[in-house]
Symmetry: C2
Subunit: 263 residues, 2 copies
């Protein structure tokens, strides 16, 4: 886990040992932290699967898989995803690599010196489109973030890390538009932000003004009415208009300093 780690390096005499004799052999796993937002119920959800194998049989875990021959890491992440859910759009990026020795119980009993390393990926999918693939036996479910149980391996730690990344992503980049439907209202967008970032991150009208001024949300003119209240305009994310902001240190939302990370 990254952090401020000032440390004195041991003043060992440089030597060139026979590396090959003591190298660790690894199996590499990919674990996905897959988020989606249920805007109807204002809940942030994570995809969990019930483990079908030892270790941690019968315990909930992040969906993961081991990397196969000829397969890239990202490829494995996509494969895993496609085995669990069907979605049209998604956002995926690498999260962090957890690789301490003894983080996987299989290391002890199994073979000599084989270690399990986990490259975690962070994904965001559209809740409405995402169709879970229940293959009869395996348990799979969207869990509200606040209700996730104790997970297998170090997956709670990975999840926490993923949640932190999600918050940062929302603040600094337009990931939200990968999760929202093609056409969305500004309050859809606002509710997405509030469910992830917390209630009091910003006033609606200010949020609205700031986003609109950036100029990459275009009003389709189409109105939609949901229950009572004035009909809302449907907007579309304009990737062209966003282009100039790409790779710039753009800040979407300024979180006040006094807000703690996990409200």
């Amino acid at each position: 886990m990254p952090g401020r780690t000032p440390k004195s390096t041991p003043k060992s005499t440089p030597k060139k040992p026979d590396d090959s004799a003591v190298l660790a052999d690894f199996k590499v796993g990919v674990d996905n932290v897959i988020f989606s937002v249920d805007t109807a119920q204002n809940r942030l959800l994570v995809l969990l699967v019930m483990r079908q194998e030892t270790p941690f049989l019968g315990q909930w875990s992040l969906p993961g898989t081991l990397v196969r021959q000829g397969e890239s890491l990202e490829g494995a992440a996509y494969r895993m995803l496609s085995e669990k859910i069907r979605v049209e759009n998604l956002y995926l990026e690498q999260l962090y690599t957890f690789g301490g020795p003894y983080r996987d119980p299989r290391e002890e009993k199994n073979s000599f010196g084989v270690r399990y390393l986990s490259v975690s990926y962070f994904a965001l999918v559209r809740f409405a489109e995402a169709e879970l693939i229940a293959d009869g036996v395996s348990g799979i479910a969207w869990y509200p973030l606040k209700q996730v149980p104790s997970l297998a391996f170090d997956h709670n730690e990975i999840l926490e890390y993923g949640y932190r990344r999600l918050r940062n992503k929302l603040e600094y980049s337009p990931v939200a538009f990968d999760v929202l439907p093609e056409l969305f209202t500004l309050s859809d967008l606002y509710q997405l932000y509030t469910t992830v970032l917390g209630e009091d991150f910003s006033d609606y009208s200010n949020f609205r003004a700031r986003l609109l001024k950036l100029g990459f949300l275009c009003d389709t003119g189409v109105k939609v009415t949901r229950g009572a209240g004035r009909p809302a305009s449907l907007y579309r994310f304009d990737a062209e208009a966003f282009a100039p902001f790409k790779d710039k240190p753009l800040v979407f939302i300024y979180l006040p300093l006094y807000l703690s990370m996990y409200p």
Copy 2:
């Protein structure tokens, strides 16, 4: 590399293949992007080593090592560092994991299906304190970032990624104080920012005012004079006073939007 990767997942029928038959076996390497800033010459430096082995024998590369049995990833990163330089203080964090198949030429000829995965780490050391360990044979040198040659493996890509991280770190966190000496002047600090971020990121007096107002730089009262000009106060980073900002989405420097990532 993370990024915006909307993608349709293939609608494959879920199946449970015999995973174990096709799993890839990995050796895991750790590659360090080690930066330091030569404030005297206003240069951002990366540590490069000359490869002593095939593949890419005789070519410059990031200092790296393979992970040994019982060794953590971060442990390997620290070991590598301590074999190359002696430093009192440093900042280290994980960068990214590069693990595509065929990224390492050894995969082809060597053993069957053994792949090489690289977990890259990002480090920042104090230039003045950092003493390079030249073990007689191996080449090792600080390279100005703008003059790095073509590197072994995908190390140019890793380096670019590390540079991006460095910029972000500088903007959002107090890493600068891990690179500066214990006592520093405000123009030392300013020059550090300009050499990394580019000339025109901010006006000196505004930079100064902003940093001082945050209240975690304390004036020691000691004056130091370097060449001509009025003597400058030596400041110290006050970790205590910074504590309340920790883990908050603090923004040190607001880069104007029109500044491109790589000026």
